[in-house]
């Protein structure tokens, strides 16, 4: 194992990539993107073994890919909060839920909110807020929730923030479950709208069978979001986050307003989480509170940390592995959670910096390790 990693390091792929001519890098990137779009049809040996539908009780490959990409969006969003700003958010599922619920509440014909609107404004029973209008609603709702949660709590120190955000996630879920008159309670909301599109073979373009279309949609959005997130990371805001993460007091002395930028991180993270939730709810066409348990929050954090928090490529890998592996190995039905736990511990102990750490993080980490070793040597 260590030989393999040493050999891998010997290749110095990262350095070579940076040193490669720009056209090569663009071409490489293009290849990766093209391959990603091609994935649902991947059927060439030996690569096809990554498909999840090879065993008789496998699950639909394109649907799994869709879920992977939705969780990738989540991971990129949560990475802004945890990886860039260094805030531990254990209630991220709350924003995800808000996104899903906002499209369900306003877009579904059978949601109590829409029914109330129909009665109030004398609209037909078929009326609901159109899909396109649900997007801004979802964004605004999760953004506002991010600010409402962040404003009073971001002044708290790290670990306090963790429990308060965890509580926030629970409050969202329980409220959605108990407010029967607004959210239809535990039964959830059906008939969540899908994006508009041409009809093909008598079916909607975005239907329940052709999951690869959903995957392509989500992938396109993911690519846009990654591009935005990278711009953000290297902007003034991104540098401010870095400064806060490394040393909040020093940053404050240098004139970086900690609170303001933390709130930004929270709001941006919340919006991305909400957007992912919206995609999920729309594909699922059904939203119910138990889809948003606290455990999902832990899974999200694990994706970011396992992959390498602070590095977009890392968190994408983390999201991919943690979503994909349990689906790929469905034949181990009841053993999967156990294996999952063992893997979490093992990976973190072997590679505490994450699978693909950002360079800065890796260096910070080396420093800490030396400190720890020196401290140990002193005793």
């Amino acid at each position: 194992m260590s030989q393999l990693t040493a050999a891998y390091r010997g290749l110095r792929i990262g350095d070579r990539w940076d040193a490669a001519p720009k056209p090569v890098r663009w071409f490489g990137l293009l290849l990766v993107v093209a391959f990603a779009y091609y994935l649902p049809y991947l059927n060439i040996l030996p690569f096809a073994y990554i498909r999840t539908d090879l065993t008789p009780s496998g699950s639909d490959w394109a649907s799994v890919l869709f879920l992977v990409v939705v969780y990738m969006i989540v991971a990129v969003g949560l990475n802004v909060v945890i990886g860039l700003a260094g805030l531990l958010d254990l209630g991220y599922v709350g924003f995800y839920a808000l996104g899903a619920y906002s499209i369900a509440l306003f877009g579904s014909k059978s949601s109590p909110v829409v029914e109330a609107l129909q009665v109030k404004f004398g609209l037909s029973e078929e009326w609901a807020v159109p899909f396109a209008a649900c997007i801004p609603i979802a964004i605004v709702m999760s953004l506002v929730a991010g600010v409402i949660l962040g404003a009073p709590t971001l002044r708290l120190r790290g670990d306090y923030l963790a429990i308060v955000t965890l509580g926030f996630g629970e409050i969202i879920r329980i409220t959605a479950r108990n407010l029967d008159g607004v959210t239809n309670g535990a039964a959830g909301i059906t008939q969540v709208p899908t994006p508009p599109g041409p009809e093909i073979d008598g079916r909607q373009f975005f239907n329940t069978i052709d999951a690869e279309r959903w995957y392509w949609l989500a992938l396109t959005i993911l690519i846009l979001i990654i591009w935005l997130a990278r711009r953000l990371e290297h902007s003034r805001v991104g540098r401010a986050w870095l400064a806060i993460r490394e040393d909040e007091d020093a940053a404050a002395v240098m004139g970086v307003a900690g609170f303001k930028f933390k709130l930004w991180a929270f709001a941006i993270g919340a919006t991305l989480g909400g957007f992912a939730g919206l995609l999920f709810g729309s594909k699922q066409q059904y939203v119910e509170p138990n889809a948003f348990m606290v455990q999902l929050s832990f899974l999200f954090v694990a994706m970011v940390v396992i992959g390498g928090s602070g590095n977009i490529a890392g968190v994408l890998l983390g999201a991919f592995l943690l979503t994909y592996l349990p689906e790929r190995f469905r034949e181990f039905v009841e053993w999967r959670p156990f294996a999952f736990g063992v893997a979490l511990v093992a990976v973190m102990i072997l590679r505490p910096q994450g699978l693909v750490p950002s360079r800065r993080r890796a260096r910070e980490f080396e420093d800490r390790r030396h400190e720890a070793e020196e401290a140990a040597a002193d005793v």
Binding site: S59, S63, A187, T190, T208, I209, V333, E334
Partner: protein, 385 residues
């Protein structure tokens, strides 16, 4: 890094060569055996439900029951296999599974979904795939009453009936006139308790809500103490019913306790212990007749007493197998067969009305009493009459 250009040329070459080479072989993925020709009888039946996770114990016995029916079937020239699809009871995990099943024509029927939530999330997918479903245990009323789909059928009557049955038992059999109604705030317990409350009318003294995962019911107990009911109804599952019952009896409240089919199963007695003695569980499952070897066969095969919905799982499989015997060789034929199916099942006489429900005049419930850790049939309750 002067070598870089060369390196990249090499990488590009290897990549192209690799793609060209690997194009030689492909795997057989998805819809492998495609739609079978007439006469060729090679099919798979899917069972979809929580096979792992916290709720697996409610689902696994029914899938085992289905397996037993398949094992005991003399298929002639037909080869049928049962494929188990785990959803953890989570609608989000159920949709990829459903899409897979719907897209693979070698599946001719679906047993499930086991829970109402996953069924709600997947029934349109199966509808689009035209594949008939027979659920052994999804009882939410809306599955067939709002937006019904043609492919969905179930062997259990929906919760509205159960609510009426429980209320009827409470008033007629237990002679209760002051009932305390508790639910678990979930999609199963709450509507059930609502229905009980509605039917009881002013015979309900008070209503309280609890939640899944709760073990300390002290606030509920004190409400019961001051309401002084002559019966207590709980809509929820075994995990919470056990500590609830213990705390009720500890507080010296001796009023009869009755729950819905969420409490039914071999695990009930193990979980409630001595405090559950005499508790009543309402279930749409008729007692299995003594001359049936089902219980023994099941125990021999799976090493335990038939748990929740094992007989329904057996019956669901039987419906599909009868369809194959009848000559159904594709989904459309099978759907037609299931729609008009009538036959004697292990759990009851089986038929489906136009929504896929148990016909109203055949709806019947049984009250089971927990005696020494086993649920023994007490009385039949017909909510329809």
């Amino acid at each position: 890094m002067i070598r870089s250009t060369k390196t990249w040329q090499a990488v590009a070459f290897t990549a192209v060569a690799g793609l060209a080479l690997s194009a030689c072989g492909t795997t057989d993925t998805g819809g492998g055996s495609s739609s079978a020709d007439d006469g060729d009888c090679n099919f798979k039946i899917a069972a979809m439900g929580a096979l792992s996770g916290a709720n697996a114990s409610i689902v696994i016995p029914s899938v085992d029951g289905a397996q037993l029916a398949l094992d005991q079937w003399d298929g002639g020239d037909c080869t049928v296999s049962l494929e188990r699809f785990d959803t953890e009871g989570d609608p989000a995990k159920a949709t990829p599974v459903a899409t897979q099943i719907a897209g693979d024509e070698s599946f001719i029927g679906v047993i499930g979904g086991a829970f109402s939530g996953e069924t709600r999330a997947t029934k349109t997918i199966y509808q689009d795939g035209g594949i008939p479903m027979v659920s052994q245990s999804a009882t939410a009323t809306d599955l067939t009453q709002d937006e019904p789909v043609e492919v969905f059928h179930r062997l259990v009557p929906y919760d509205d009936y159960q609510g009426v049955a429980i209320a009827k038992y409470l008033t007629d059999e237990a002679g209760a006139s002051k009932v305390f109604v508790i639910d678990n705030a979930e999609a199963y317990g709450e509507p059930l308790a609502d229905r009980v409350a509605e039917t009881l009318g002013d015979k309900m003294v008070q209503r309280d809500k609890t939640e899944v995962g709760q073990t300390d019911f002290a606030p509920t107990i004190s409400k019961i103490e001051s309401a002084k009911p002559d019966a207590i109804m709980y809509g929820g599952y075994i995990a919470e019913a056990a500590p609830l019952l213990k705390q009720i009896r500890d507080a010296g409240i001796e009023a009869p306790f009755i729950g819905g089919d969420g409490l039914y199963g071999a695990d009930f007695g193990n979980a409630v212990g001595a405090a559950g003695e005499g508790a009543v569980v309402m279930c749409p499952c008729a007692p299995i007749e003594d001359d049936s070897t089902f219980a023994d066969d099941f125990e021999e095969e799976f090493g335990g007493k038939p748990g929740a919905y094992a007989a329904e799982g057996y019956d669901a499989m039987t419906v599909f197998l009868k369809g194959l015997e009848d000559g159904a060789r594709n989904r459309a034929d099978m759907l037609e067969f299931v729609n008009s199916y009538t036959g004697e099942g292990l759990s009851k006489d089986i038929a489906f009305d136009e929504n896929g429900d148990v016909p109203a005049d055949q709806v019947s419930y049984w009250a089971y009493k927990n005696e020494g850790g086993t649920l023994t049939p007490e009385v039949e309750v017909k909510p329809g009459s």
